[in-house]
């Protein structure tokens, strides 16, 4: 654990709370297993001492900002999470002057579960190109040059080569219990009423059937086309292990290739479905 970095976070958080710059600080604390991390909300200067940061801080805390609209909050943000900040800025869901961003230069996080943590970096961290958050007010940690692996989307290529794709996916979707954890954890999912729970019209039937679930998962992913920032929290929280990254990353790859766009890199850039080019060549051939 980098105690120096943690001390910087705690000092800054305490400072912000003492001066009243923010009403609260969203960060991480040690979970009760004593090994992993969990989200933590500090509202008192003294509570700042509970803040930590290490490679087990896997959660994308930005989602919590959606619930704190109107309040000025400070938040601990990893480079990957900063893309969610940019996404929400672009979609006018948060206001920049209402958020104090404590950016962390992050060397990557590992896979964790209760009382357990792996020693290897998460796959998304291995290809991450960001050595520091894209947007921040206060930067902690040493900015280290990253030696990122090249993003080859080999998982997508493999999934494309599956012999009976419909069968494969219906089997995956067949497991879905529509707990909507994937949606709840996603920083890009914030509709007051999700299409999956709308009655007029009833887009997705109530019964838990593979083809109903397919409509749900297909459209969930499609609503995130050009918006998914790749935190992969959905896949982490899925209780039935549906490989949701294969869905999100497929569209991420296509959006990158067709429209040269990646979500959350620039809050000013128009997302792919907000704009078009008259002379773009988009193939509709077989």
């Amino acid at each position: 654990m980098d105690m120096e970095l943690i001390q910087q976070i705690r000092d800054k958080a305490r400072n912000l709370l003492e001066e009243g710059t923010v009403e609260g600080v969203i960060g991480y604390e040690r979970a009760s297993d004593g090994l992993t991390a969990r989200p933590f909300f500090a509202y008192e200067p003294a509570a700042a001492e509970r803040l930590i940061f290490d490679e087990t801080c896997i959660h994308d805390l930005v989602k919590y900002l959606l619930d704190k609209k109107g309040k000025k909050m400070a938040i601990v943000v990893k480079p990957c999470d900063s893309r969610a900040i940019n996404l929400l800025l672009n979609e006018e869901q948060i206001k920049r002057d209402k958020v104090f961003i404590i950016g962390v230069s992050c060397p990557g996080v590992v896979e964790t579960s209760w009382n357990r943590r792996s020693e290897t970096l998460q796959a998304r961290c291995r290809t991450c190109q960001l050595s520091k958050p894209l947007v921040y007010d206060f930067l902690v940690g040493r900015e280290v040059a990253r030696q990122a692996e090249e993003e080859t989307y080999s998982d997508i290529t493999e999934a494309k080569a599956i012999a009976n794709k419909e069968e494969f996916w219906l089997e995956q979707f067949g497991r879905c219990i529509r707990c909507y954890a994937c949606r709840q954890v996603c920083p890009g999912c914030y509709c007051p009423v999700c299409f999956a729970e709308r009655l007029e019209p009833l887009w997705v039937g109530i019964r838990i059937a593979p083809e109903e679930n397919r409509v749900w998962q297909t459209m969930r992913t499609f609503h995130l086309a050009g918006r998914c920032i790749g935190c992969n929290e959905c896949e982490r929280v899925c209780p039935v292990d549906i490989p949701l990254s294969l869905l999100n990353r497929k569209l991420e790859k296509d959006v990158k290739e067709l429209f040269a766009f990646q979500a959350g890199l620039d809050p000013e850039e128009s997302p792919p479905f907000a704009t078009f080019k008259k002379d773009e060549k988009l193939e509709f051939g077989a």
Partner: protein, 1111 residues
């Protein structure tokens, strides 16, 4: 609970023929919420509609489904029916059982019936979700836009205007009238076209309600029925129509003549023109198409086309005035200019470029020959004194431009005589001193004060004398050295020193053998001077090959004729001497490597290739440089040793001090120096007036796009007469110049690329002061409520039909050309003649359906008017000359329009016209006559008709630009660019766009009465609209449910109509809000809205999903 009634239409047998209606009725009865089903023979008939209304009342129906034809056909009708029974008209859904089912699946009763049941079930599911909608009331701008000033557009405009409403009539040509104005007589009554059209045109021109915008085009249209916004481009016609009296003096003096479009290229018109005498507006237009290539190519922007056009008219003095608008050096540049203009001359693509430089010189020669008048001094209107240092071409050009603008200008020259390099650097046989002196005296006459023997050493002194700006143009006056051993030996001369001494008259003694080192003009000049000084053996040593030699090619040629040799690909390495006397040079051979920065291939020495040349003198001409010693202090230099200036403004590092010419560029040609002086003059003027020196620079000029070379016959360029070789003495000019006859003939070769030559002779004669050569295109915006599109069609270009000899034989003409010949006001004064020889034709063959009804030569449709106009033309030919005999080779002879049309064809036949049904194989020419061969379809025999004239009855087709306009208007058109009607039978003058109506040949080929009828009909629709208090706008617009809106405003980004605004609620939330009066109901935002907060009324998610779920 919905109570749905379903009404199924048989449409006679149109639907019932393929769909088993009873089976559908039984199936539909079982559908949920359907309480009433019935079928009718014709639902759209009165009984059919009455039966719907009765059922609504009796069965208390609150939703109606009608299975019939396409909703695009009768939706409005049935909405009215439903409304008549007290139901909201939008609680109706139509199942398209005819266009989408029975008509496309004949003889498949089982499948078509199943499909019909599906379609009705889908409609029932949808209608259950239908809501009552109320159309919005929208105001109307009661002003019409009519596009196209042919007879259809004229009729529309007059009808709307006479009813008391304003009309904007936009016509892209300079005059209204369209094709009808070109016609001589009209069928079948043979009345004079102009006689019936002209009064209507005049009425348009004078009508208080009509704003005629001729020579204008539509650029953009937005809005919707009753409320369109249009942007109209008024193309610059360079004549102020409010001042022009139509007197035509401008056209009389205009030197540029080109083919008249109105006369179908048979006659001529001027660049300043009116298309025909009865044109409305009766105002002239100047046809200006940008800058000619010669003017673009000239560094100083000299308008060569302008003076050449005037020379061609024998207006030599006026021509010189055109040149002097830009610069004063006709005689100088006419002799020594490197003429980039000739390189770009478009005539060069036909045969050889115009001899522009020689023509320029001719103007100066002519002035000297007839006696020069002293120029009147320019009035001094400005206070600020300008000092110019150096009197070479750059300094004098700058002085010239500034003095003309009213500045007091003084030129300081260090040498005893003004002229700089013009006087001291170029030998007399090429540029006589009197020519230079004459042009300098002209500049002095205008008011420029030239002080000679006045070197300037200190800029502060000049400023102290009250000068507000200084232009440094001291040139690049020192010869560069080669830096080889022996270069300082007496007998080694540097070219500039040598030329200067010769020009000063200093005695220079040379031996009998001279080597000149270098390949530029200075080298050539030095060599030829040496020849004139009696040197026997002269060799130019140049390190590259002939292709890279920078001297003017004609000068090199002349030099070689004078016996001077060139040693290419060699360079001296040492000057050999004995007793301090030159004995020779040792040279090394070179080979060319890769191109260097200048684009020329870099020479490199070949090892062991040394050789020696015996000479008595060496003249070195390898370059010139700036002499820093002669320039004032504190100036900044580039690393090439030239003055450092801002490339755009030419200002040096010192405020108010500018520099140009060789002192900035290094040694360059005369015209580039003049250009530098002119640029500096612009900067100095702006500097003294305190305005931005950089704005709008460099000036972007529009080069003329395409230059027509059609019909240009090759004709060799006139060569420059020169002094015989034996008579060339030191001071005698070698080139002798053109005489007047040659100059005119050469000038007449000019293609007048830009059409208007910008000579501005018209300005002089226009008493109304209506001419403005600087006029710009103007965009006019207007609000209109309705639009009539009557853009017409063009006759196909007959020259594209080579199969019939079109474009190959001059006696194969188009029917419109014949029409122009028949017209008394036409190019032949009403005489029908053979274009090849002017003789009256005896045998005339008409070929019908040229480009029509024949996939071989054009398109498959009938152009409708050709059969009748051919009959008319044969009758008229007989009237013109009774001995004429006409053949009409036809595919079918059609007399559409009933009544007298068929009789008219008979009349033509009775008048002696021979009708032959057949197909043409070829049209050839033998012994000055044409021969038309083909096959007679009725007898099966081949024919071969000798003819004096062949007339091609070319079909009609909308112009290519029409499609662009239709796209701007968002109205549909077909593959041939004809407009599509809202319904081909029932709504012939309406489009699918409400408020846009159509008439005339833009829709399909029509004759005059049809065009007039359609124009009037379109006007009637406009008036119907204008007579309403307000119009109902479709209620199918989008609405935001703010409880679901997240305020992401993606909807605002995708809306093409800026109908979405953001709105802040009291709780601080930001949400989207849609302006229903701007929303057009496309539904793009609905799909963009992830939370489903936006609903498109009439096309809601529920409705469409219900359709999907019903299938």
């Amino acid at each position: 609970m919905a109570r749905i009634g379903v009404f199924l239409c048989h449409c006679g047998s149109n639907i019932a023929g393929s769909v088993n209606i009873p089976e559908v009725v039984e199936a539909v009865k079982k559908l949920p919420q359907v309480v009433h089903v019935e079928d009718n023979k014709f639902t759209c008939s009165d009984p059919g509609q009455a039966s719907i209304q009765q059922a609504i009342t009796e069965q208390r129906l609150n939703r109606v489904v009608i299975g019939a034809c396409s909703p695009r056909m009768h939706e409005t009708t049935f909405r009215r029916t439903v409304a008549g029974a007290g139901l909201n008209p939008y609680l109706l859904e139509i199942a398209n059982l005819r266009e989408h089912c029975s008509w496309v699946h004949p003889d498949q009763v089982k499948e078509a019936t199943a499909k019909a049941i599906d379609l009705v079930r889908k409609a029932v599911a949808r209608v259950a979700w239908q809501e009552s909608l109320t159309p919005r009331q929208v105001g109307i701008t009661r002003r019409a836009l009519v596009i196209g000033g042919g007879i259809a557009g004229i009729q529309s405009s007059l009808d709307v205007a006479d009813a008391g409403y304003e009309v904007i009539l936009v016509e892209r040509e300079p005059s209204i009238g369209g094709h009808m104005a070109q016609l001589d007589k009209t069928f079948p009554t043979l009345d004079c076209s102009a006689c019936i059209l002209t009064p209507k045109m005049t009425t348009v021109g004078q009508h208080p309600n009509i704003r005629l915008m001729s020579y204008s085009e539509i650029v953009d249209i937005s809005g919707f029925i009753g409320n369109f916004k249009v942007k109209i481009k008024k193309k610059a016609r360079y004549i102020d129509v409010s001042k022009c009296t139509g007197c035509g003096e401008c056209a009389k003096v205009c030197p540029v003549e080109l083919n008249s479009e109105f006369d179908e290229n048979l006659g001529k018109r001027k660049a300043a023109y009116i298309p025909f005498p009865q044109a409305i507006p009766n105002k002239y237009t100047i046809d200006k198409r940008g800058y000619p290539p010669c003017r673009v190519a000239c560094p100083a922007g000299v308008n060569a086309q302008g003076y050449i056009a005037l020379i061609s008219q024998g207006k030599f003095r006026e021509a010189l005035e055109v040149l002097r608008r830009t610069m004063p050096f006709a005689g100088v540049c006419g002799r020594v200019c490197i003429h980039p203009c000739e390189r770009d001359c478009e005539r060069g693509k036909v045969d050889q470029p115009i001899a522009i430089r020689a023509l320029k010189r001719f103007m100066a020669d002519y002035e000297l020959k007839v006696g020069k008048e002293k120029a009147t001094p320019v009035e001094r209107t400005k206070e600020e004194k300008v000092a110019i240092v150096g009197s070479g071409p750059a300094g004098l050009a700058c002085a010239y431009d500034l003095v003309k603008q009213g500045y007091p200008v003084t030129v300081f020259e260090a040498a005893p005589e003004a002229g700089g390099l013009l006087r001291y650097g170029i030998p007399e046989y090429r540029l006589p001193k009197e020519v230079v002196a004459n042009e300098i005296s002209y500049i002095q006459d205008l008011g420029v004060d030239i002080k000679t023997n006045a070197p300037v050493k200190n800029l502060t002194e000049i400023f102290d004398q009250g000068y507000k700006a200084i232009f440094l143009a001291t040139g690049a006056g020192i010869s560069q050295k080669m830096g080889i051993p022996g270069e300082d030996t007496p007998g080694v001369l540097h070219a500039l020193d040598f030329l200067r001494q010769v020009n000063f008259g200093t005695k220079v003694s040379l031996g009998s053998k001279v080597a000149v080192v270098g390949g530029g003009n200075a080298a050539v000049d030095a060599a030829r001077i040496a020849r004139r000084r009696g040197v026997n053996e002269i060799t130019i040593v140049y390190r590259r090959s002939r292709a890279e030699m920078p001297a003017i090619p004609s000068e090199i040629e002349e030099m070689e004729q004078e016996g001077i040799k060139i040693q290419f690909l060699a360079t001296p390495g040492e000057v050999l001497s004995e007793a301090n006397r030159v004995t020779g040079i040792r040279c090394v051979r070179m080979e060319l490597g890769a191109p260097d920065a200048s684009g020329r291939r870099r020479p490199a020495p070949v090892k062991g290739s040394e050789f020696t040349v015996d000479v008595d003198n060496v003249i070195i001409a390898v370059g010139q440089g700036v002499d820093k010693a002669t320039l004032p202090q504190d100036l900044a230099y580039t690393n090439l040793g030239t003055l450092s200036v801002d490339p755009l403004t030419l200002q040096t590092n010192i405020d108010g001090v500018f520099a140009g010419g060789d002192v900035v560029s290094g040694p360059a040609d005369v015209i580039t120096c003049i250009a530098g002086g002119k640029e500096a003059a612009i900067s100095i003027d702006r500097y003294l007036r305190g305005v931005d020196m950089k704005e709008g620079r460099p000036e972007i000029v529009k080069r003329v796009k395409e230059v027509s070379k059609e019909g240009v016959k090759p004709e060799a360029r006139h060569s420059m007469p020169t002094l015989e070789l034996g008579r060339r003495k030191e001071f005698d000019e070698v080139e002798l110049g053109f005489d007047e006859k040659t100059a005119i003939a050469e000038a007449q070769r000019c293609l007048n690329c830009a059409v208007c030559s910008d000579c501005r002779e018209c300005e002089k004669v226009c008493e109304a002061k209506a001419i403005d050569h600087e006029m710009q295109d103007e965009i006019v915006e207007a609000d209109v409520g309705a639009i009539v599109v009557a853009t017409g069609a063009k006759a196909l270009d007959h020259t594209q039909f080579g199969i019939y000899g079109g474009g190959i034989h001059s006696d194969v003409v188009s029917s419109l050309q014949l029409e122009r010949m028949m017209s008394a006001a036409g190019p032949t004064g009403g005489e029908v003649v053979r274009p090849s020889n002017g003789a009256h034709p005896k045998e005339v063959v008409f070929i019908s359906c040229v480009g029509s009804r024949d996939e071989r030569t054009g398109d498959g449709y009938c152009s409708k008017v050709c059969c009748m106009y051919m009959a008319k033309q044969t009758i008229m030919l007989k009237e013109h000359a009774p001995e004429t005999h006409s053949y009409i080779i036809y595919t079918d002879a059609r007399g559409p329009g009933g009544k007298i049309f068929e009789d008219f064809l008979t009349r033509a036949e009775k008048a002696g016209t021979t009708y032959m049904r057949g197909q043409i194989d070829s049209v050839s020419q033998q012994d000055g006559r044409l021969s038309v061969s083909g096959q007679d379809f009725l007898t099966g025999a081949a024919f071969n008709i000798p003819a004096d004239l062949v007339v091609l009855a070319t079909g009609l087709m909308p112009s290519e630009d029409a499609a662009n306009l239709f796209q701007i208007l968002h109205i549909s058109y077909d593959a041939k660019n004809y407009l599509l009607q809202a319904h081909p039978k029932l709504r012939p003058v309406e489009t699918a766009m409400d408020g846009i109506f159509i008439a005339g040949c833009a829709v399909a080929p029509t004759d005059i009465p049809e065009s007039v009828a359609q124009g009037g009909a379109a006007a009637q629709y406009v008036l119907k609209l204008f007579s309403q208090e307000a119009i109902e706008a479709e209620p199918m617009t989008s609405i935001v449910d703010i409880s679901r809106c997240t305020g992401c405003l993606l909807c605002r980004q995708v809306c093409p109509f800026q109908a979405v605004e953001s709105e802040t609620l009291r709780d601080g939330r930001t949400v989207a809000s849609i302006n229903a009066s701007v929303c057009k109901g496309c539904g793009i935002c609905v799909v963009a809205c992830r939370p489903g907060a936006i609903k498109l009324r009439g096309f809601s998610d529920q409705q469409i999903l219900a359709e999907v779920m019903a299938l």
